[in-house]
């Protein structure tokens, strides 16, 4: 949906530069302070904890795990099944039918996962307050950063990382999905985008998919037709200062078509992007995201691929959600979050063929899924 009131209409004489989003993933920042209790580990640890919780001794638990989830008689030990999307994987009865606890997590008890601590996390101050619960952004050093999603996820091994390492799960899905998923677009309109000034920032979905380059990254300079569907159209007032692009908070919505990022939506959306000389944009996108959106991504992936404790994340996110109180239940439905975003130059066109966004700059040599092949850290 379109952003809030008071958005300046783009000036007819202005320049519009088009971009296509080449990479997006949860912005992680882990260091030795993040998980003082040792962290939530990986799938082996999740299975071990469940066996211990079901009454198995530690030695028996390790033996079962070592045998691949099978006891000494060769029988499958159900509780070691990781919660996937198929019902027979560790099904529990619900209305007499087996269901996957990943999909109906309230059937399980809250295992009480460890949440991420420490001083730093990427993101923005969304609520205008600096509280002891808040973080400091490691790049901008903004204080009062609200990022409860990081607390929920940060102590799982797959998230307990920081750049240039990228969350494995998300990078795999992004690399696979973009070849069939309509691309996500950004455009920036202003009088002269080579200088500081006021701008308009627009997000849209495209009718085309991304083009790959010779590295398997995202090709710069391709052309994308803008999907006229208003559900993915969001407009923000923004500012460029010292080659950093920021926006006034508003609502963002992008329809996706992939396992991860079925939909991307935020309220209180914040942006902080560096405008590189090669024409690309990279930085942080943050805001309050409906936490069930993210849980849904993880549940589809299942615990085997996603490598998190699904009921654990469910309960943690429900508890840590810090916005969007449901009018009936009073429970918060959205959680503060931050994502790393990268966009490369692209042409935009309307469905009638009119070119409305220019591609400026050759783009980076290693982009999107190929970004981690760049010789120096981004």
């Amino acid at each position: 949906m379109a952003a809030g009131l008071g958005v300046t209409a783009p000036n007819a004489r202005a320049e519009t530069r088009g971009y296509v989003i080449s990479m997006i993933h949860t912005a992680t920042y882990a260091n030795e302070d993040t998980c003082p209790s040792g962290g939530n580990g990986d799938t082996v640890d999740i299975r071990t904890r469940r066996l211990l919780g079901a009454g198995f001794g530690e030695e028996a638990a390790l033996r079962i795990i070592g045998n691949g989830g099978v006891d000494d008689d060769g029988n499958r030990v159900d509780i070691t099944r990781l919660h996937g999307s198929s019902a027979e994987a560790g099904g529990q009865p619900w209305n007499g039918q087996p269901v996957s606890p990943g999909n109906v997590p309230a059937l399980s008890a809250d295992p009480g996962i460890e949440s991420a601590q420490g001083r730093f996390a990427y993101g923005f101050d969304l609520d205008g307050e600096v509280s002891p619960d808040d973080f400091e952004d490691p790049d901008s050093h903004e204080r009062g950063v609200d990022n409860h999603m990081w607390r929920a996820l940060g102590c799982f091994d797959v998230y307990r990382i920081r750049r240039p390492v990228v969350p494995y799960n998300e990078s795999i899905v992004w690399d696979t999905a973009i070849d069939a998923m309509p691309a996500w677009l950004m455009s920036v309109t202003g009088e002269n985008l080579s200088q500081d000034g006021e701008v308009t920032v627009t997000f849209d979905r495209s009718l085309n998919v991304l083009l790959r380059d010779a590295h398997g990254g995202v090709m710069s300079g391709a052309t994308f037709v803008i999907d006229p569907d208003p559900r993915s159209h969001s407009v923000f007032n923004g500012t460029i200062k010292n080659r950093i692009l920021t926006i006034e908070p508003g609502d963002l919505a992008l329809q996706g078509e992939s396992q991860f990022y079925a939909v991307l939506r935020f309220t209180e959306t914040h942006l902080r992007l560096q405008m590189d000389p090669d024409g690309s944009l990279r930085g942080i996108l943050g805001g309050y995201q409906p936490w069930r959106d993210y849980y849904h991504y993880l549940a589809i992936r299942g615990e085997n691929d996603g490598q998190v404790d699904l009921p654990g994340v469910y309960y943690a996110m429900a508890r840590l959600a810090d916005s969007g109180a449901d009018p009936v239940t009073g429970e918060n439905t959205a959680i503060s979050a931050a994502y790393w975003l990268e966009a490369v130059p692209a042409f935009h066109a309307t469905t009638s063929g009119e070119v409305v966004g220019q591609s400026v700059g050759n783009g980076p040599k290693f982009s999107g899924p190929a970004a981690n092949r760049a010789p120096s850290p981004q």
Binding site: P182, A214, H215, F347, A349, S359, N362
Partner: protein
């Protein structure tokens, strides 16, 4: 400028007259037949035309051709088939024969059924093989040949207890016979000119068909050969008209320009992906197709002047090509569908103008990691102007070539200073480098740039004493150079006859060039003039 041109025309006409009066010395028209090796493309097209498009031909390059005097077609006149190539052709022949005789195809392709499927049937074999032989050998097989192939079929049927296996064996024999793999251009005495020879009707049909359509003569052309129609002017002209008005002209045109522009180089093109991320594997294929499609539209659909290919802004693009050219190309998305080719016209202020700025030219004549003005200039001279650039001498000391980190030599133009200043180098390099330097704003992958290592790129130069700044100003100078047209005319003639023109033919070619420059260098006109020239249907002594 009409006086000199008129003078040249007069001289040309005088020399032609001289030939007719026996005053000039014509080259010897030969009695002997000529052998021209079929190209892999001609092989495939012949099989498809004779047996149908559903026959799969797994081509895979068989034998590399050799470029002689600028054309692979001339090399085909000199080459034979190596053992490795024949091995491959025999294997291909077995695949084709297997499909032709399988259940799906035999009802349509084999006109008779054998008395018994497990035994020889001479009559049916003879019926099939003589019909097929006519098309494969491009002339009726002799009685001795038919007997030989029927015997092959019979003996194989006996050994393998299978009529169709026998037919397959004989068909393989035909497909590896020299009569199929080579064009045997036979001659007969020319009744109009005693003591000279001309191609016989079937050889005329073949030469005409391979020239205009790059394929084997069809049934109507073979019938015209048989009836003697091709030996008479009206009969020949009628067939020429028929071939010229067909859509199949595009096949012939594409093969000719692929040869003339050196597109066989695409097979070994290597552009460093780490330096040029936009040059994906698809781009090389797309680039080749873009140029051929542009030429086909220009010369066939629009019947436009060949020279304008140097300055045209009209072309076709795919999304990947558009990204390299830096232009927007809105496209509808058909997930999993074929790559769309979109007609595109570069805007007037866009630096892309004509063939020289297309990726096919720019990338084919560069090094994998850097541009090469010398290679690009040489390609223009040799491929488009038919001028020969001498090879570099031995024992040249390149120790004065500077490294790229030297701040005084940041652009290629600066690094090639030695080429221009040293008189030994300059003699040849002044032929190539100025042309190539005008294209330096396009890197190896075809991407436009205005600076190199931070220094601005200077694209000025001189061509035939006229100054230009950038390829936008050089292109019209090339277009107006008569050498561009002579080159096309001479190459086309050589391509069609698989030989270099003889001395008196050169005179005729010069006159043709002059006429076309005045009337417009259109493809069909050029093809008509060549194929209506009786000299086109002669062999020349070695």
């Amino acid at each position: 400028m009409s006086a000199p041109r008129g003078y040249i025309r007069w001289v040309a006409r005088a020399s032609m007259l001289g030939v007719c009066l026996g005053l000039a010395a014509p080259s010897v028209v030969a009695e002997e037949s000529a052998l021209v090796r079929l190209t892999p493309a001609q092989y495939e097209r012949s099989i498809h035309d004779i047996f149908g498009e559903s026959i799969q031909v797994d081509r895979g390059i068989v034998d590399p051709g050799v470029r002689e005097n600028g054309l692979l077609a001339l090399g085909a006149r000199k080459l034979t088939l190596s053992a490795a190539a024949l091995e491959r052709y025999e294997s291909l022949a077995r695949q084709v024969a297997l499909q032709v005789t399988d259940d799906r195809h035999r009802t349509t392709l084999i006109p008779c059924t054998p008395v018994a499927a497990s035994a020889p049937d001479t009559a049916c074999a003879a019926q099939f093989l003589s019909r097929v032989g006519l098309f494969l050998f491009r002339r009726p097989p002799t009685d001795a040949q038919i007997q030989s192939y029927v015997a092959m079929a019979g003996s194989a049927s006996d050994t393998l207890d299978d009529f169709y296996a026998g037919l397959r064996a004989a068909l393989v024999g035909m497909l590896v016979a020299p009569d199929f793999l080579f064009r045997v251009e036979r001659t007969e005495p020319d009744p109009a000119q005693p003591d000279t020879y001309r191609l016989d009707g079937y050889s005329r049909a073949a030469r005409l068909s391979f020239f205009l359509w790059d394929t084997t003569p069809d049934a109507e052309l073979l019938a015209a050969a048989e009836s003697g129609a091709l030996d008479s002017t009206p009969g020949l002209y009628q067939q020429i008209d028929r071939l010229l008005s067909s859509r199949r002209m595009e096949d012939g045109l594409r093969e000719f320009f692929s040869d003339m522009l050196g597109f066989d180089g695409f097979a070994t093109l290597s552009v460093d992906a780490s330096l040029y991320p936009k040059f994906t594997k698809n781009v090389a294929d797309d680039a080749r197709e873009q140029t051929l499609r542009t030429i086909a539209q220009h010369l066939l659909d629009r019947n436009a002047d060949y020279r304008d290919l140097f300055v045209t802004r009209d072309t076709f693009l795919t999304p990947a090509l558009a990204a390299i050219y830096g232009v927007p190309l809105p496209r509808s998305q058909e997930l999993g569908g074929a790559v769309p080719w979109v007609p595109y016209r570069f805007p007037d202020n866009d630096p892309h103008v004509g063939l020289l700025t297309q990726i096919s030219f720019l990338s084919l004549h560069s090094h994998p990691g850097t541009t090469s003005p010398t290679l690009r200039g040489k390609a223009v001279r040799e491929n488009l102007l038919c001028q020969r650039v001498p090879p570099p001498p031995a024992d040249v000391d390149f120790s004065l070539i500077q490294d790229t980190s030297n701040p005084a030599f940041r652009t290629v133009r600066q690094r090639l200073t030695k080429h221009r200043q040293n008189p030994t180098c300059a003699a040849c390099h002044r032929m190539t480098d100025p042309i190539g330097l005008s294209l330096e704003v396009f890197d190896t992958s075809g991407v436009y740039r205005t600076t190199e290592n931070g220094a601005p790129i200077d694209t000025s130069g001189t061509y035939r004493r006229q100054h230009y700044s950038g390829v936008g100003e050089l292109a019209p100078l090339l277009r107006d150079d008569p050498a561009v047209t002579s080159c096309l005319v001479n190459r086309a003639f050589s391509y069609g006859t698989a030989r270099m023109p003889s001395d008196n033919e050169l005179g005729w070619l010069t006159e043709t060039r002059t006429d076309l420059v005045e009337d417009g260098v259109t493809w069909r006109d050029l093809m008509r003039r060549i194929t209506q020239n009786p000299d086109f249907y002669t062999n020349v002594a070695d």
